[in-house]
Point group: C2
Chain length 203, copies 2
DNA sequence: TATTAGTTTAACAATATTGTTAAACATTTG
DNA sequence: CAAATGTTTAACAATATTGTTAAACTAATA
């Protein structure tokens, strides 16, 4: 399927996703999006009233993608170690395919927390958090793991999985790594991260 | 010392630092900076020709601050465990005082890698990297620690120290933490992080 | 095929943002 | 104190960016 086969709305959404996700709201220009989509600015306004409205669609979509990999895994009946390992692998796989996602979400959330909070209402992230806390506390109560504040554990997982993608440009320069070197490193890190997280709770 | 005592250039720099660091280049308005400094826009241009030139000053300054806490510690004659522990503590102390710094650097670096690379030339970060790699490799050769790719170790440290500050707004909302709760958590994390990093290299 | 609804464009309008200038004001110093 | 230098302001100009409109075009269909 070529670009030409897609209808205009889809072309606009694809272009907007690309431009907004890379540039952020403030730096993105309606004209960049129009050019990326191969149309003119007026058409953007015809399909999506305003820059803000178009952005809202992309933000909601990105927010959804960002959290989708998290939620399903906790509910399985695997043991905790396996769950953590799957979570880390799934998260990094997702991030390897959507490398600009976390910086986008974080930047926009930082500059407009109210919007982020509003969008979070549509995504089962609170539910995930509750489920996660219960899981950790009950495992600790059963004596299967060391007692730990689940928030620390979550912060560990999120930091180790997400940060490399957020800091990638700086990191690549400091270490003299190129894109494929970076991706190889992240493949290796799947197990390093999972091991490190599991160390945190192992008795 | 009150605001009134400071000279105009200093007031402008303080205001610009605040606005640029919070908003980033694209979202920052010269008028925001002027208001924050208690002057009008024309004065900004009188002191610093253009928005870009003012921004360059702030970016260079922020970049310098960001890396200053790193560099000195490695050169001491403490053992590696102590060095890592000091590094983590110093880094988190710095970040607690400059919470917007990492997202600022990372966002701007992401959207303009050439500028970041140019600025990096003025900061001894490459030198830090070389020193760090040598230190880890020589300790491993001596058999004091497990062999590990120093890049993985550095990524671990950076991820665990920096990410919480970058993702703070999202994180606070997901976990229902307020500002002081967050800062307490980071105090606790100093040792959790140091322990976790040291686990990675302990035989 | 003539009508309709939907799509696309080019030209235009409105607004937001940055940058400039000339004149008023203040401060220093010969 | 008066000339010179530096500072500040208000008004203006230029540019960049978003948003609107009317008319041309296209495709479906009565």
């Amino acid at each position: 399927m070529t670009e030409i086969d897609k209808n205009t709305e889809q072309k606009i959404l694809d272009a907007a996703r690309k431009v907004f996700t890379r540039q952020g709201f403030a730096a993105a220009r309606m004209d960049d999006i129009a050019q990326e989509a191969g149309i003119n600015r007026a058409l953007l306004h015809y399909y999506f009233r305003s820059k803000q409205k178009l952005f809202d669609v992309i933000f909601a979509e990105n927010m959804g993608n960002f959290y989708s990999s998290f939620v399903s895994i906790l509910g399985s009946d695997a043991d905790l170690e396996t769950k953590i390992r799957s979570l880390v692998h799934a998260e990094i796989d997702m991030l390897l395919k959507n490398q600009d996602l976390p910086l986008f979400i974080i930047s926009e959330a930082s500059r407009n927390p109210e919007m982020m909070i509003a969008q979070m209402a549509h995504v089962p992230v609170r539910q995930f958090m509750i489920q996660f806390v219960q899981l950790i506390n009950s495992e600790a109560a059963k004596g299967n793991i060391k007692a730990i504040n689940p928030i620390h554990l979550l912060m560990h997982i999120m930091s180790l999985c997400i940060f490399p993608f957020v800091g990638r440009p700086v990191f690549m320069h400091v270490t003299g790594t190129d894109m494929s070197g970076f991706e190889n490193l992240m493949e290796e890190r799947k197990n390093i991260i999972a091991d490190s997280v599991i160390q945190l709770i192992k008795k």
